[in-house]
């Protein structure tokens, strides 16, 4: 079986791999588009408004700067996508894995065994959250990290229910051992 994430066991079945709702990505793209608008504003307004910007030397300087600016914009877009793509959560039949890529050089992977779960809460708030059905799933655990958060995931109630259903399947002995280990 091909492993989807590092440390995946051979008999481990993945039930869910979830990322933030696409609307969160769209919001970041919208911010990025503001910077694109600066370029469009230059071509659409500044060039028409100021005659000296239409002279050949000014055009060469402007094109060189615009190309460099566009390179940084494309790099910014790629960065936004990478950070969206590398932040995900995995729910398997054994554990929950939370992979956080807070920046390019900050990578954190946290996992908890299902037996360590104490409480699961799904939260949907705000107009946009209710409209697009996304929110946060809080998982209270008995481990070192006491609270897991799945931020801005689609259909958080379904994910919370999945986690609870998988928790119910964990043998009682394992749950007791996890509580004692606390």
């Amino acid at each position: 079986m091909t492993s989807i994430f590092p440390g995946q066991q051979p008999n481990e079945k993945i039930y869910e791999l979830t990322r933030q709702h696409w609307i969160i990505f769209a919001k970041q793209i919208a911010v990025w588009l503001i910077f694109v608008a600066i370029l469009l504003g230059y071509d659409g307004w500044a060039v028409r408004e100021f005659d000296f910007l239409r002279t050949p030397p000014a055009e060469r300087i402007a094109t060189a700067i615009k190309s460099l600016y566009l390179m940084y914009l494309v790099a910014g877009l790629f960065t936004v996508w990478i950070l969206y793509y590398l932040n995900y959560q995995i729910i398997t039949n054994n554990r929950i894995v939370d992979v956080d890529q807070k920046s390019l050089l900050f990578h954190a992977a946290t996992e908890i065994h299902l037996a360590q779960i104490e409480d699961v809460t799904a939260e949907v708030k705000g107009f946009v959250g209710n409209l697009f059905n996304y929110g946060t799933v809080y998982v209270q655990t008995a481990g070192a990290k006491t609270m897991f958060e799945f931020d801005n995931v689609p259909d958080p109630k379904r994910i919370a229910k999945l986690i609870l259903d998988l928790y119910e399947r964990v043998p009682v002995a394992e749950k007791a051992a996890a509580r004692e280990g606390k």
Partner: protein, 70 residues
Amino acid sequence: MIKLVAQIIFYGLVCILAAYSVLMVYVLLRYGQSKTLTLVLSGLYALVMVTLFSAAVANFVRISFPEFEL
């Protein structure tokens, strides 16, 4: 002198961007789930960047800078 300063700034910015791009591709290769997707997107990204760089350099070398003697 002005030309030298402009060149340092221009190529310096390009070098910083190149280093950052290499870092992005490395992070994607290391932590991404699909190597194929990483390579395809990195290839497309490189293509776009090279095109933009060519346009930037082509216009930059044609800029005439005033000469000042120190």
